[in-house]
């Protein structure tokens, strides 16, 4: 899916902003508003905190733009700032129950999927329904942070295994293990619900 007609030269935009054309920052970040908000919301779990975190992330990125060296993509750098902002906020709010420190996921037992005999594809039009969107949000939000992070970076933001590993400062092997467990957990939580929410022919009008 191609978004624009012209290829954005973000490096050039960043150079101009640093050179004094600050207004260009508005255009630079426009394509990433959604990613940043989504990342924030899945951590904060309520819209107003998520919006706050997203705004702070964009402001921090602006203030620290000179530190962006182009070693990563700008989008990845932004995500990493958002991740830090969200984690910091949670820590300050003491909402984190130390899950990420207590857990040793790689040693955990096998995660079993929900057993089904058949699967009728849930079409993406189903996302027009609020209940389905909320179901998915709740399932992602319900994962322990270490699993939620890999799912968001790898499956939602579509970073590679290596980029995800760098972002989270863990090994590629850990990314794969956590991702596997996270995906199975999502299947287990969602498949039975989606199956009942997706009755035969409900989606088609004819």
């Amino acid at each position: 899916m191609s978004v624009g007609i012209t290829v954005r030269d973000e490096e050039q935009m960043i150079a101009s902003i640093l050179g004094g054309d600050s207004e260009q920052y508005h255009d630079l970040i426009r394509p990433y508003e959604h990613s940043v908000y989504r990342m924030a919301l899945s951590f904060m779990k309520n819209e107003s905190d998520a919006e706050d975190v997203a705004q702070e992330a964009f402001l921090n990125a602006f203030r620290n733009l000179a530190a962006f060296r182009g070693q990563a993509k700008f989008s990845t750098w932004l995500i990493s700032i958002t991740l830090n902002e969200a984690r910091g906020r949670l820590r300050r709010q003491s909402l984190v129950r130390m899950e990420s420190l207590d857990e040793t996921p790689e040693q955990g037992g096998q995660v079993s999927p929900a057993l089904l005999r058949d699967w009728r594809e849930v079409p993406s039009e189903a996302l027009e329904r609020k209940e389905i969107r909320e179901m998915l949000q709740a399932a992602i939000g319900g994962l322990a942070p270490i699993y939620r992070e890999v799912v968001l970076l790898r499956d939602v933001e579509e970073l590679s295994v290596e980029e995800t590993a760098t972002e989270l400062a863990i090994s590629a092997a850990s990314v794969k293990t956590r991702l596997h467990r996270a995906r199975i957990m999502l299947q287990k939580a969602l498949a039975p619900q989606l199956k009942t929410a997706n009755p035969k022919r409900r989606w088609f009008r004819w």
Partner: protein, 89 residues
């Protein structure tokens, strides 16, 4: 070689990412051909990942963009074209 369902589950994520070794992939593939349960698990997992990656799952609140850019405007005005300068008037 025959492989049990439980072992196939261990490879679902790798299968979806196409990161299994050719031998393992072949083994999983053969199992899937005759096991409707594992096929349904694989299909549902793939489907769920497609849905979770959809932009609509986490929608932007109404006015999000306007509020964000208004705040950025204030910040930019404060920085007055000199990033790093801590001017609060």
């Amino acid at each position: 070689m025959v492989i049990e369902c439980k072992h196939v589950w261990d490879h679902i994520s790798g299968y979806l990412d196409d990161s299994l070794s050719p031998e393992t992939r072949e083994m999983v593939q053969r199992h899937l051909e005759h096991c409707e349960i594992c096929s349904a698990i694989l299909d549902s997992t793939r489907n769920i990942l497609v849905l979770t990656a959809d932009d609509r799952v986490f929608e932007l609140p109404v006015g999000f963009s306007d509020r964000l850019h208004a705040r950025l405007d204030r910040e930019i005005a404060g920085a007055s074209g000199d990033p790093g300068k801590d001017s609060s008037d």
